[in-house]
């Protein structure tokens, strides 16, 4: 039996009230808020955040990582490998990227289920994340939101089994971005609905039910993607599902999160599911993927985690100018401050365990965990001077406390002022690093923090990922 072993979702803490966008462009607002990835987040960092939660507590035997997104930070260079490094996967972990379609996440899910069913993998972590940008003032700017979801597909200890699936493809051009496009392009609204989304979704869901001899009444929850509330409501009406069983698509709360949307909705549905529940799950994009999940007794395991609920309620508001700045949508005057040192490829490779998974070392002689502040290797113990007598020690999963901090007005950051802290890890070890996702007026010495995988300032044309501390 193949199914979902673990599930999680990540929604960035930042929200932009759509009224702000409507006021800016004098277009009116569609209501609600959009979740906005922080200036230091992207599809990879959000996938890492979702993956870390998904792997808790200590899910073993994950030997594949499939990363789905239409907004991979690199056109050439794999997101899955970066994510796998950050969550400290075994190097034999099979990594693959899925992209170019809003269906990328469910395609990855299907491929993962097939791999597990065939016995080629024990279990596979699938991430789905997106950070799509609508052109300022345009039809997508208000509705799009940022987020990530993650699932582990396996064959034991399942939260829900996959009872069936049905997919069709459709070469329908409704939304697209060509190689050079920052913003989504699209066809005319009713054309997209009437010739694209509605008929193919209806057909696929009907065929799924026919294939498995099920009727709408056999499902306790219906989870499906739509591009906005109207499309979502219209399909509910057309399919004749009981509206109370249809999962909230979260457009009002966080917006349309693209590839992540169906995963976040599924995570929310599973968090409230009961053993025996049957869930219909459908996703759209260049065709349709549909699945039937059957919830097991294990579902109690995640009920109290309420990851989606917590992520939905933890929020900080930003203004529209900040949003434009964070997404690089306004040119800014070059800083008159000196350039900061750029990252270099060779040491990033040499110290990859440090840089990607925040490994330091622990002295075998005196037991002190230690990590170098600028990513150098430690050969001699900073306490007892023993040489080369260390074991690897991971800091990324350790909590810590803020020992002292410096608010830095001069720091090149898109969220000024910068905040840097001296972090004392619980269990030993100290690191000086940047902080993120904090409320400046609540920063206190002794404040508990945890580590999060983020982008540092850019340089050398690469995306400079490292770890920052954030308040717990």
């Amino acid at each position: 039996m193949v199914g979902i072993k673990s599930v999680s979702a990540y929604i960035p803490v930042y929200r932009l009230n759509r009224e702000e966008i409507g006021k800016m462009w004098k277009t009116g607002a569609i209501g609600g808020e959009k979740a906005v990835a922080g200036y230091d987040e992207d599809a990879v960092t959000m996938a890492v955040a979702a993956a870390i939660d998904c792997l808790k507590p200590d899910v073993k035997d994950v030997n594949g990582l499939y990363a789905a997104t239409t907004t991979a930070p690199y056109k050439e260079k794999q997101s899955a490998a970066i994510i796998a490094g950050a969550v400290d996967m075994n190097k034999r972990c099979y990594t693959a990227d899925f992209g170019n379609s809003l269906r990328a996440g469910t395609i990855a899910l299907k491929m993962a289920a097939d791999a597990v069913a065939s016995g080629s993998a024990e279990s596979i972590l699938v991430t789905a994340s997106d950070c799509r940008i609508g052109a300022p003032g345009g039809r997508f700017e208000q509705i799009l939101g940022d987020g990530a979801g993650a699932l582990i597909i396996g064959s034991s200890d399942l939260l829900a089994t996959i009872e069936g699936s049905y997919s069709v493809f459709s070469d329908f051009t409704d939304l697209w971005r060509t190689q050079g496009d920052t913003f989504i392009q699209c066809g005319e609204g009713r054309f997209m609905d009437e010739a694209g989304y509605m008929p193919v979704m209806q057909e696929a869901i009907s065929e799924l039910m026919k294939k498995y001899s099920l009727a709408p009444g056999d499902f306790s929850k219906i989870v499906y993607y739509a591009s906005d509330n109207k499309q979502h409501n219209d399909l509910t009406k057309k399919l004749g599902f009981d509206r109370s069983l249809v999962q909230n698509p979260l457009f009002t709360e966080i917006g349309n999160t693209g590839v992540a949307a169906s995963f976040i909705m599924l995570a929310a549905a599973l968090e409230e599911a009961r053993p025996g529940d049957r869930i219909l799950f459908a996703n759209y994009g260049d065709g349709v993927d549909t699945f039937i999940f059957r919830v097991t007794e294990n579902i109690g395991r995640i009920r109290n985690k309420s990851i989606v609920k917590k992520r939905l309620t933890a929020k900080k508001y930003i203004d529209y100018g900040t949003y434009l700045n964070w997404r690089d949508l306004v040119p800014l005057e070059a800083s008159s401050l000196p350039d900061r040192a750029e990252p270099s490829l060779a040491p990033r490779w040499r110290e990859r365990k440090n840089v990607t998974a925040l490994y330091g070392v622990k002295c075998r002689k005196c037991g002190t965990p230690q990590i170098h502040p600028i990513g150098q290797t430690a050969r001699v113990c900073v306490v007892c001077q023993s040489k080369d007598d260390f074991e690897a020690y991971k800091f990324s999963d350790k909590t810590g406390k803020l020992f002292t901090y410096a608010v830095d007005v001069l720091q090149p950051t898109k969220n000024p002022p910068g905040l840097n802290g001296v972090i004392d890890f619980d269990g030993g070890g100290r690191l000086i690093c940047e902080l993120t996702d904090y409320d400046l007026y609540k920063v206190l010495i002794g404040m508990p923090v945890e580590m999060t995988f983020r982008k540092l300032f850019q340089g050398k044309g690469i995306v400079n990922y490292f770890w920052k501390a954030k308040p717990v």
């Binding site: 008159s336 900061r340 410096a406 950051t413 030993g428």
Partner: protein, 397 residues
């Protein structure tokens, strides 16, 4: 182990006006400082037998000294972050003490303002990740790297933000007052505590006036054997001790480091006092020039150098101990804060003031009857530092 005490003397010094010297290049600054020193020592340039040039950013090799036109003598460029100027003096002093030369030039220079940028490049100052060779680069500024001290000091000693800011402001006010009496200082404005407190924040708790000037400048010293010193002048200044202490990033990596002191400072001071035979620095040191790159560092330095007991610097600040008329005047020339901080020149600029004070030539800033003076630098920052102390006196012991 032998001591350097009374083996070498400074017989001539020079120092340019510090500031945004749009009118002068590195070559002008070097010539200005060196020729003032030559003249002060009553010496021809050709008498210099070896030279040590200190600079952090303003030249890569000994050739940086080429503008002086010295004829094929040995020249070495030295660099030790903000202790660079003092490092040049150490090198010249040790060479003379070792007898490999009798007359040596120590000169430091920095031309920061030709970069067209505001502030000092951070990462190279922090240490060994020279540009482009770091795994992750570096983001925070020099003020932030010192602000950690202020934040923790306030917390450790229970100062609320207003009390803490006021304490730091007193240091800036003192140094600006002293600098206002000094025509060579970068700034000449007298500040009030209120002005310092209300200045825009650069890196909390440091405001604009808690941070030193980013300046251009050069300073030079001519060092000779102590027994030759009186051939050049009647009032030479004798080196009593030279000490540095270099950390291994303990403060950045070990939880037992408290961010309310700096071991590199404490150890450099301890060593220099031992070498100079000083038992009670507060009583024996007549005046000191210390590394007030940021006011919160001067605060901690009072305690690190043993001028104030731990946690009691506040009492001494309130008592005016370190003012020009106080018990132990500190940064009589305005300090880095007001005189300015051209990195490679600063250690020698400090010595220039101590030298003038010990000769009784400090004009309106003259302290009463000084015997021993001291300079102190910290290269790097809390937890990643090079501490350096030099003690000199106007009497041969």
């Amino acid at each position: 182990m032998e001591s350097i005490k009374d083996k070498v003397a400074i017989v001539g010094m020079g120092c340019t006006r510090f500031g945004e010297r749009w009118d002068m290049g590195v070559e002008d600054l070097l010539v200005e400082a060196a020729y003032e020193a030559f003249q002060d020592a009553g010496m021809e340039p050709k008498e210099i037998q070896a030279a040590w040039l200190g600079t952090v950013f303003s030249g890569m090799s000994a050739l940086t000294l080429a503008p002086l036109g010295l004829q094929y003598i040995p020249v070495t460029r030295v660099e030790n972050m903000c202790a660079t100027g003092s490092e040049a003096l150490r090198a010249a002093s040790y060479a003379v003490a070792a007898g490999v030369c009798d007359i040596a030039l120590a000169i430091g220079v920095e031309k920061l303002k030709d970069s067209g940028q505001t502030g000092v490049k951070g990462p190279s100052i922090i240490g060994d990740n020279t540009d482009g060779s770091s795994a992750i680069g570096s983001g925070y500024s020099a003020p932030a790297s010192f602000a950690y001290l202020g934040t923790r000091y306030f917390h450790h000693y229970g100062l609320n933000p207003d009390e803490g800011k006021r304490l730091l402001a007193e240091i800036a006010v003192k140094n600006h007052y002293n600098g206002s009496l000094n025509p060579k200082a970068h700034f000449h404005n007298i500040l009030t505590v209120e002005q310092v407190i209300k200045a825009p924040i650069v890196a909390w708790p440091l405001g604009l006036f808690d941070c030193c000037g980013v300046s251009d400048g050069a300073a030079a010293a001519i060092v000779t054997r102590a027994d030759m010193a009186k051939n050049f002048r009647s009032d030479p200044v004798y080196v009593k001790g030279l000490a540095i202490s270099v950390g291994a990033r303990q403060g950045s990596m070990r939880q037992d480091y408290d961010y309310v002191h700096i071991d590199e400072n404490v150890l450099a001071a301890k060593r220099v006092y031992a070498e100079a035979g000083i038992k009670d620095p507060r009583k024996e040191i007549s005046m000191a020039e210390v590394h007030d790159c940021f006011t919160c560092h001067e605060l901690i330095v009072y305690e690190d150098l043993g001028f104030s007991p731990r946690g009691k610097a506040r009492d001494d600040i309130d008592a005016g101990t370190f003012t020009l008329k106080g018990e132990l005047p500190v940064n009589t020339d305005g300090g880095l804060k007001c005189f300015g901080h051209p990195l490679g020149a600063s250690g020698l600029r400090m010595m220039y003031e101590v030298y003038k004070q010990l000769q009784g030539k400090a004009g309106p800033r003259q302290v009463k009857n000084p015997h021993l003076g001291m300079t102190h630098n910290l290269g790097g920052n809390a937890g990643n530092g090079v501490g350096c102390c030099v003690v000199v006196g106007n009497e041969k012991g």
